[in-house]
């Protein structure tokens, strides 16, 4: 199984995780890292590196972030770079549900699935 790490602005990741668990009717193993506006970037980076390290012990990990260019994403990108971990930005509930349902895929494949799921959930109807 590929580990899922959600790196978002304050509280968003926890909220997404909660809604996914309600919809799927089960607990979903994933790590959420919340970066508050006043957070020390160096400490946050250390926390992120540790989170990715835990995920790496199993079948690898993918990182989902909320907003490209924002601090949570930039720090995640920095932490992931050294380990070759894929980072996918723009997380939404469709992306998260898709990733959870396909977590048996290896990280790079799961990253492609995540991107597809995120796009699938955007309709202009």
């Amino acid at each position: 199984m590929t580990g899922i790490v959600l790196v978002t602005h304050s509280g968003l990741g926890e909220s997404l995780r909660h809604q996914a668990e309600v919809i799927l009717g089960k607990m979903v193993p994933m790590t959420t890292v919340s970066i508050s506006y006043g957070a020390d970037p160096d400490l946050a980076l250390d926390e992120l590196i540790a989170s990715l390290g835990m995920g790496q012990d199993s079948g690898g990990v993918v990182v989902l972030t909320d907003l490209p260019g924002a601090t949570p994403h930039n720090l995640a990108q920095k932490a992931a770079e050294a380990r070759g971990v894929p980072v996918i930005s723009g997380v939404n509930l469709p992306m998260l549900l898709k990733v959870i349902n396909h977590a048996d895929k290896p990280p790079n494949e799961l990253a492609a699935v995540a991107s597809l799921g995120g796009h699938q959930g955007i309709l202009n109807s």
């Binding site: 309600v22 919809i23 799927l24 009717g25 469709p94 549900l97 898709k98 349902n101 799921g117 699938q120 959930g121």
Partner: protein, 89 residues
Amino acid sequence: MIRRSIKLTNRLGLHARAASKLVQTASEFKAEVWLEHNARRINAKSIMGVLMLAAPCGTELSMEVDGPDEGEASEALVRLIEGRFGEGE
């Protein structure tokens, strides 16, 4: 291959939790399961696919089940849908 149509009778239709139960049930079987509504045909083992059907109460879904355990799969799915996904109404 089994083909049949089935009507959604639960008040909220194929909403998120119902879709999730449908996917979980379909995924218990080897058979492929396809659902069709409004000319959209989707894999019933895909949560996003099922949600994209956006099927409300009263919708008549076409279901196609194909595989070694298609009979059991079809029965389980019909049971789930006719049982209103375990919802009261």
